[in-house]
Structure formats: structure tokens, C-alpha cells
């Protein structure tokens, strides 16, 4: 069977020390995978490798059965970096339409189709009535919704989301995962997140990344998994409540 994402023995380093070492990961089509792990544990690097934005030092990566570079336009990507020029004069609608550029929807490219897709995505994230707003006028949460709309506008077969709920109002957190669960009926989703409590009820599998990757077939997150992924004890809290990390008490 063809996997959405295949990684075999992948290692990567920016300098001398490895950020990721000997990572194996098979993501089936239709999967809903959550990637957990501490900051600096290599989660974002992992996504960038999958997208071919970084090249592994060792190992092999396939995206939809092809090389990452030739298949990445079939992926909807939500970057984590917020290093954007926020005074950039661009409206919510223009930002979303950006998702329709490039090799997206090849062979099925018409102005009408593009407009339909843009409207649909903006309605889905609840920003259609704010489509004429410049992004500089949006709150952090609204801006995040706009970026998610842009990722969706690429009509992706896989969605890669890097911390989609950071800087977002808690309301949208639940909304977002419900939207993702709905989208997951047709597309594969990989999400980097710290929302350990919330995602449990939505995801199908979990991968913990901290230089090494541990894959868990089931969506249930246990204390044992977390203690392996995070260098410090992490408290597992019930649904909807952000987790807290305590220092070890003496």
C-alpha cells in the first residue's frame, strides 16, 4: 500500500549534533497523527524534512510515494514561524487566495473554482465576513484562522499543521479539532501540538519526538509515553485544560 508519509532511518543535524536520529515513521493515508514533544525536540525539523525544505543527512523520505519536492504541493502547510511582516498590506481574502497559486489544483484551475475554494475555506474557519480586513487588524487567533484557511485552500491530500492552536482563543481550539476531525474523513492530518488533553479524543495515533521518535498506534496518551518524550514530568490533565509542566520537587 502507498503511505502518505514514509521515513526510514532518517537523521538530521544543523551542525555537529543530531536534532533527529534514526527516525522511522509510516503514516497511512487517512491517518490523524499528533506529534508531541518538548520544544527543541525536533518536531518542526521533522515537518520541514517531510516537505523537502530540509534534506536529511541520512535515511530516506517519501511523500505520497514520491520525493518530498515533487509531491509537496499536494500538502497543506501551516508553518509555526510567526516571523511575518505583520504590517504587510494584504487582506484575509488575498492571503487565502495565495493557497491557490503555484502547482495547486493543476488541470483543474479556473477562476470560478479558485473563488469557490477561497470562500469555502474562509467560511470553514469563520472569517468570511472579515475577508476584506487587512491581516494587521486581526487578533492573534483570527490571524491563525486565516493561515489555516490558506493551508486548506490548497485542496490538500495531507495537512501538516505546526502548532495550530498557539496564540489562539480556547474556543477556537475545540472548534479547530472538530473541523480537523471532519476534514480527516477525506484527508490525512499530521499536527504538532502541546494540547495533550484536547487531542486525545480526536487523533488516531501519536508520535513522541525528542531526537528519537516513538510511534503509538493508538490515540490514547499515557503518562509513560509522555515521560519518554518530555525530559521532565508532565501532568496529564483532563480535556480542554492546558497542561502544566512542573519542576521536579525535592
Amino acid at each position: 500500500m502507498e503511505y502518505a508519509i514514509e521515513m526510514k532511518g532518517v537523521s538530521f543535524s544543523y551542525g555537529a549534533t543530531y536534532v533527529l536520529e534514526d527516525v522511522d515513521l509510516l503514516v497511512k493515508k487517512g491517518e490523524f497523527l499528533a506529534i508531541l514533544g518538548p520544544n527543541g525536540g525536533g518536531k518542526t525539523t521533522l515537518l520541514k524534512l517531510i516537505l523537502g525544505l530540509l534534506v536529511p543527512k541520512k535515511g530516506e523520505i517519501k511523500l505520497l510515494g514520491q520525493s518530498p519536492v515533487s509531491a509537496r504541493h499536494r500538502v497543506g502547510y501551516l508553518p509555526q514561524e510567526r516571523d511575518f511582516n505583520l504590517s504587510f498590506p494584504i487582506t484575509v481574502e488575498e492571503l487565502t487566495r495565495m493557497g491557490r497559486l503555484g502547482r495547486v489544483g493543476k488541470g483543474d484551475k479556473s477562476k470560478v473554482k479558485d473563488e469557490e475554494a477561497v470562500q469555502k475555506c474562509l467560511e470553514l474557519v469563520g472569517l468570511w465576513d472579515k475577508r476584506d480586513w487587512p491581516i494587521s487588524n486581526l487578533s492573534g487567533g483570527q490571524r491563525q484562522r486565516a493561515f489555516i484557511a490558506r493551508a486548506l485552500a490548497t485542496s490538500p491530500e495531507i495537512l501538516l499543521l505546526d502548532e495550530p492552536t498557539s496564540n489562539v482563543d480556547p474556543e477556537f481550539q475545540t472548534d479547530l479539532y472538530q473541523i480537523l476531525a471532519e476534514l480527516n474523513k477525506t484527508i490525512t492530518i499530521v499536527v504538532i501540538t502541546h494540547d495533550i488533553g484536547v487531542i486525545s479524543s480526536y487523533v488516531k495515533s501519536v508520535a513522541c519526538v525528542n531526537k528519537h521518535l516513538t510511534f503509538h498506534e493508538e490515540g490514547q496518551i499515557t503518562e509513560a509515553m509522555l515521560s519518554k518524550a518530555y525530559p521532565c514530568p508532565v501532568e496529564l490533565v483532563a480535556h480542554g485544560i492546558p497542561h502544566r509542566v512542573f519542576h521536579r520537587h525535592s
Binding site: 509537496r72 498590506p89 487582506t91 487587512p134
Partner: protein, 263 residues
């Protein structure tokens, strides 16, 4: 001002400032939203090497400098694309290297070297008929290319990584964008000179940015501002017998300060 228009050089100067305004309004906007005024400064100063080389080789100065600036622009585009975290150092080196090359070429050029100062500080009153036609041609080229690649340029300016992922030929378009910026820099050198060029390219879009919410409108408003500043600067320069380039920049800078207080 209008009495001044009886002089041919003054008429050329006014036509040239209108044509330059269109070019700078468009490319200056890209410089501001891409946050690459340092890259632009690098290209402008390195272009001095082109001035020196043109005089040394005895080829038309604007042509030689233009080609030199295009080459430097393409080089900077590739290097800054590949080594994002080293951009400032790389540009600093090219900046100084270009100027050093220019100084050496000029030193080795025999005879009359033209008015070197006019390349450092510009002299819009030296613009002739051929220059205005060259300017017109560059305006047309830039307008056509920017209309074709408007959305793509917007995408790579806003979020380069996303542009790469969705399959926009990002590096090639980035090189094209920097080359168009190089072209506009060389034409502005004639007006305000190497040392002041970045100010004229970036101040008007910076003011415009506060009043608009789309890239296209920012370009149009910037064009309008540059026209205003140039004509007004020329007028002051004519009235008080001061250097034109410096007057234009003075007007632009003061306007920026005023706009900061207003909004």
C-alpha cells in the same frame, strides 16, 4: 517653478522625475514589504564598481552600471536566498567590494573622469533626452513584469517557505525581483546618487503603508508621493540654488517625520 520650465534641462528633469517615480513607487514597495533595504543599499553602493568599470572601459556609463548592478543583484539574490542567516555579512562584503573595485578602476582610468560626485550624489539636471527614453523603456518593462507576476511576487514577499511548498518557482522569481530592484536603483542613482538612493526608494512606501490595505494601492500611493517629493524638491533646489538630489531627500525625510506624527 513654471518659469523654470523654459529651460530644456528643467523639462527633462521634470519628465525624468515622473518616470522615476513610477519605477520607484513599484519597486520601493517591494523593498519595504520584503524588508530588504539593506540589500538595496548593498546593490546601490556596489554599483559604484559599475561606474568605475564603465569609465575604464569607455562604455556608456548608465549601460555599464546597469549591467553591473544586474549581476550584483542576481548574486546577492542567490546568496541571500541560500544563506538566510548570513545575509547581512554577505551584503556588507559585496557592498564594500563593489566600491573598492570602482575606486581602483577610476584610479587607473586615464584623462577626464567625468563628474564622479554626480554619481555619489546624483544630478537630475544632467538628465538628457536619451536618458528619459531609457527610463520610459524601463518603466514599461517593470510594469509589464509586475502585472504578470503580481500574485507570485506577493506570495514570495510575504511567506517564502509557503511559496516554495506550493510549487512557485521561488528562487527564480526572487532573482527577477531583485534584478528589477537593481534596475530601479541604477536609474535613481542618476537622480539622487548612490548615497541617497535607498531613502528615495523606501521613504514613500513607508508613508504609504499606513494609509492602504493592499500592495497595489501602496504602489500607486508611493508613486504619487515620490512625484510630489521630487517636484517639490526640484522647486526648492531651483529657488535657492541648492543640489537637487539632497533637496528631494530632505523633503521626503521631513514628510516621513510629519506622517509619523499624524498617524
Amino acid at each position: 517653478m513654471w518659469e523654470a520650465l523654459q529651460f530644456e534641462f528643467m523639462r527633462h528633469a521634470v519628465v525624468a522625475s515622473v518616470l522615476v517615480s513610477i519605477l520607484c513607487g513599484i519597486m520601493g514597495t517591494y523593498i519595504v514589504v520584503n524588508r530588504i533595504s539593506f540589500i538595496s543599499g548593498g546593490i546601490a553602493h556596489a554599483a559604484y564598481g559599475g561606474v568605475g568599470a564603465s569609465i575604464f572601459l569607455g562604455i556608456p556609463i548608465m549601460l555599464g552600471t546597469g549591467l553591473f548592478a544586474l549581476a550584483v543583484g542576481a548574486l546577492i539574490a542567490v546568496l541571500s536566498f541560500r544563506h538566510k542567516d548570513r545575509v547581512d555579512t554577505i551584503i556588507g562584503v559585496i557592498w564594500a567590494l563593489g566600491m573598492a573595485v570602482g575606486v581602483i578602476f577610476l584610479d587607473k582610468s586615464p584623462g577626464f573622469k567625468g563628474d564622479i560626485l554626480s554619481y555619489l550624489f546624483g544630478n537630475i539636471l544632467l538628465v538628457n533626452r536619451t536618458d528619459t527614453f531609457a527610463l520610459l523603456a524601463i518603466d514599461v518593462i517593470v510594469i509589464i513584469l509586475v502585472s504578470i507576476f503580481y500574485k507570485e511576487f506577493m506570495a514570495i514577499s510575504f511567506d517564502r517557505e509557503f511559496a516554495i511548498v506550493i510549487g512557485i518557482p521561488t528562487l527564480r522569481l526572487y532573482i527577477l525581483l531583485i534584478c528589477l530592484i537593481s534596475l530601479s536603483i541604477v536609474t535613481v542613482i542618476k537622480i539622487v546618487g548612490i548615497l541617497l538612493v535607498v531613502a528615495l526608494l523606501t521613504i514613500p512606501p513607508l508613508i504609504a503603508e499606513k494609509f492602504v490595505k493592499s500592495l497595489g494601492k501602496m504602489m500607486v500611493l508611493s508613486c504619487f508621493f515620490i512625484m510630489l517629493f521630487s517636484i517639490f524638491g526640484l522647486q526648492i533646489s531651483y529657488k535657492f540654488n541648492l543640489p537637487a538630489g539632497a533637496c528631494i531627500i530632505l523633503v521626503a525625510s521631513l514628510s516621513y517625520l510629519v506622517s509619523r506624527f499624524l498617524k
